[in-house]
Structures are given as structure tokens and as C-alpha cells.
């Protein structure tokens, strides 16, 4: 196999941010921002979310959280639970022994450039403590 390029950071992202409306071309390009900040994506479905799919996503988050990955959530203002199905997802995560990840909520009613900067600052500022990084990431 090969040298591994993974970034060790993952963002839970609502469908509405993975697939922004073509009618709003000036909106923050969340996927591009996540890529630039070296975050992989776990896409959350639009409401109503199949409960089994949320459980499957929670299983994946738990696996990451237990093995040295930094997980955050990026929500969107104006959607129920910010598009994150937070009440259901947080309960599923706690059931799996995982503290729900830190959240950042994007405001679509504010100027996009500033929102993009704030999102990048949030993403760049978050990671696991250094000793956890050393333990898992070599």
C-alpha cells in the first residue's frame, strides 16, 4: 500500500449544504471550504430522515470518534435542527458513548464572504488534543 493522505477531520453536513440551490450562486461553497480545510464529509439526509439511516450515520461517527478523528457538525440557519437532525442524532451518539460534536451554524441571511471566513476559522481551529493525535495518527 502507500503513504496515507487522510486529514483525520470530518464534518457532518446537511444535504442542503452539500447540494446548495443553483438559485443562490453567491452562497458559501461549503464543500470547497471543507476540502480546503482538509475535512471529509458525512452527509446528512434532508428531513424527514429515515431513522435507520441516522443510526447508520451515528455508527460511523462513533467509529471515527473512538479512533482519533476530529468530528464537527456544520448546520444551516433556517432549517429545523439546522439540518442536522440534532435531537435524534445526539441521542444516537450518546447511546454509542460519543459526546455530540461541536457545531457551527452557517447564516444564509448574512454576507457570504464573511460567513465563509467564519466557517473556515471554525474548521481550522478545531482538532483533537495533541496527545490524542499522537496516540492514533502516528
Amino acid at each position: 500500500m502507500n503513504a496515507d493522505a487522510r486529514g483525520w477531520r470530518i464534518a457532518l453536513v446537511p444535504d442542503a449544504l452539500v447540494n446548495p440551490s443553483a438559485a443562490d450562486p453567491g452562497a458559501v461553497d461549503v464543500l470547497r471550504t471543507l476540502e480546503a480545510c482538509r475535512y471529509g464529509v458525512l452527509q446528512l439526509p434532508p428531513a424527514p430522515a429515515p431513522s435507520l439511516l441516522l443510526a447508520v450515520i451515528a455508527d460511523q461517527v462513533a467509529e471515527y470518534a473512538h479512533h482519533g478523528y476530529a468530528v464537527v457538525a456544520v448546520g444551516v440557519h433556517g432549517q429545523p435542527d439546522h439540518g442536522l437532525h440534532w435531537r435524534a442524532l445526539a441521542a444516537l451518539l450518546r447511546h454509542r458513548g460519543v459526546t455530540p460534536p461541536p457545531r457551527h451554524v452557517l447564516r444564509t441571511d448574512r454576507e457570504a464572504a464573511g460567513e465563509g471566513r467564519r466557517l473556515a476559522e471554525f474548521l481550522n481551529s478545531y482538532d483533537l488534543p495533541a496527545d490524542e493525535q499522537r496516540r492514533w495518527r502516528g
Binding site: M1, N2, A3, D4, A5, R6, G7, W8, R9, I10, V18, N19, A22, L31, L34, E35, C37, R38, Y39, G40, V41, L42, Q43, P45, P50, L52, L53, A55, V56, I57, D59, Q60, E63, Y64, H66, H67, Y69
Partner: protein, 201 residues
């Protein structure tokens, strides 16, 4: 989205949006596979990420494996559970008349579409001297189970291809050419869509 409200939907392997899902030493990008995302978005596809079957089954720190090692009743049952989790979204799209395609990961024992990795004698201590698996032309196990679940629901096969990430030597330019050819061929071959094309079984 066209005038009838139909969308172009690309079902994408989990690791195409999240390289952290890859097996140890298998991630080629820090975050996501940018060329795939770019090619799909440029052509107006919305993205639907599939769950990663290996991560939730064998874990984030799993060894790499071949098709035959994952071809067990327990792993297939796990894949069927994941397929049942995501199938309602796919069914909704197909019954609405959306154009749905699937982009898997060629060479993967789970997510391969055109090709998977095979070595029936692999097993035991993971100390093979080199990557000596073979590439064979068949689906990975997750794709087999996902397609079976869609068929159980009476849905038509979804046109599919794979990003050739796990084929041994990774050739990004070749993988990009393959993907773009697949996407552009679909545009060239598409007849005028009619209102009655939605799945109505």
C-alpha cells in the same frame, strides 16, 4: 433540475466525499476526491453519499482485504442493512423520475463497480510481501447488495461506474478521463425525457 422538477442525482461511494473512510494507507486525498466532486457538480448532479460498509463493520483501523475475505453471511447481512437504510432516498428519486447514477470505487472489495480485488488464498497474518491481489471484472459486495435491494423494491438498474482508486497503481488522469467519458456519454445518449418516464411499478 429540469423544467419538470427532475434532478440529476449521483450516488457516490462514501470515501469519494470522505477519504477518512479508506482502509489504512488507502487515502490518496486529505478530504474528498476533488476531481469527482468537480466533474459531477459541473454537470449539474446533486450528490448523495452512500454509507461506508467496511468502516462500520471492520472499523476505522481495519486491514485491507479482498472480495473473498468480505464474502461472508455476516458482512452481506450488514451490507443489506445499510442498503435498507439508504434505499428509501434512492427509491424516492427514481420514482420522481430523477436521473440517478452511481459512482463507486473500482478495485474495492466492497464498492467496486467495474472491478473488484480478488485473491481467494488471502488470509491469516497480513504479511503479504507485496500487494499481490488480482483485479477481476465484477461488483464489490456492497454494490451487489445495494443493487439487490433496489431490485427487490422493483426499481430499475442504476447506470454505474467506478473511480479507479483501488486498482493498484492509481492513475488520476486516467480515472478522470474514464469518469468524464461515462458522464458525457450519458448526455450524448439521453433521449428527450418524457413526463411518463418516472418509475411507476
Amino acid at each position: 433540475m429540469d423544467q419538470g422538477g427532475r434532478r440529476k442525482v449521483a450516488l457516490v461511494a462514501s470515501c469519494l466525499l470522505n477519504q477518512n473512510a479508506k482502509v489504512c494507507e488507502g487515502a490518496r486525498y486529505p478530504a474528498m476526491v476533488g476531481p469527482v466532486v468537480e466533474a459531477l457538480r459541473r454537470r449539474g448532479y446533486t450528490l448523495q453519499q452512500l454509507p461506508c460498509p467496511e468502516l462500520a463493520f471492520a472499523g476505522a483501523r481495519r486491514w485491507w482485504a479482498v472480495y473473498e475475505q468480505y464474502d461472508t453471511p455476516a458482512y452481506r447481512a450488514h451490507c443489506r442493512r445499510l442498503a435498507q437504510a439508504i434505499a428509501p432516498l434512492i427509491e424516492q428519486s427514481l420514482r420522481r423520475g430523477d436521473e440517478v447514477i452511481l459512482i463507486g470505487l473500482d478495485g474495492s472489495p466492497s464498492t467496486g463497480v467495474r472491478f473488484t480485488s480478488s485473491k481467494p488464498e488471502w488470509g491469516g497474518r497480513p504479511n503479504r510481501p507485496e500487494d499481490d491481489w488480482e483485479i477481476v471484472a465484477r461488483r464489490g459486495i456492497w454494490i451487489e447488495e445495494l443493487e439487490a435491494e433496489l431490485a427487490r423494491r422493483g426499481l430499475p438498474p442504476v447506470p454505474a461506474t467506478g473511480w479507479a482508486l483501488d486498482m493498484g497503481r492509481f492513475d488520476e488522469a486516467g480515472a478522470r478521463r474514464d469518469l468524464e467519458q461515462f458522464l458525457d456519454d450519458r448526455v450524448a445518449a439521453a433521449p428527450g425525457k418524457r413526463d411518463d418516464e418516472a418509475v411507476n411499478s
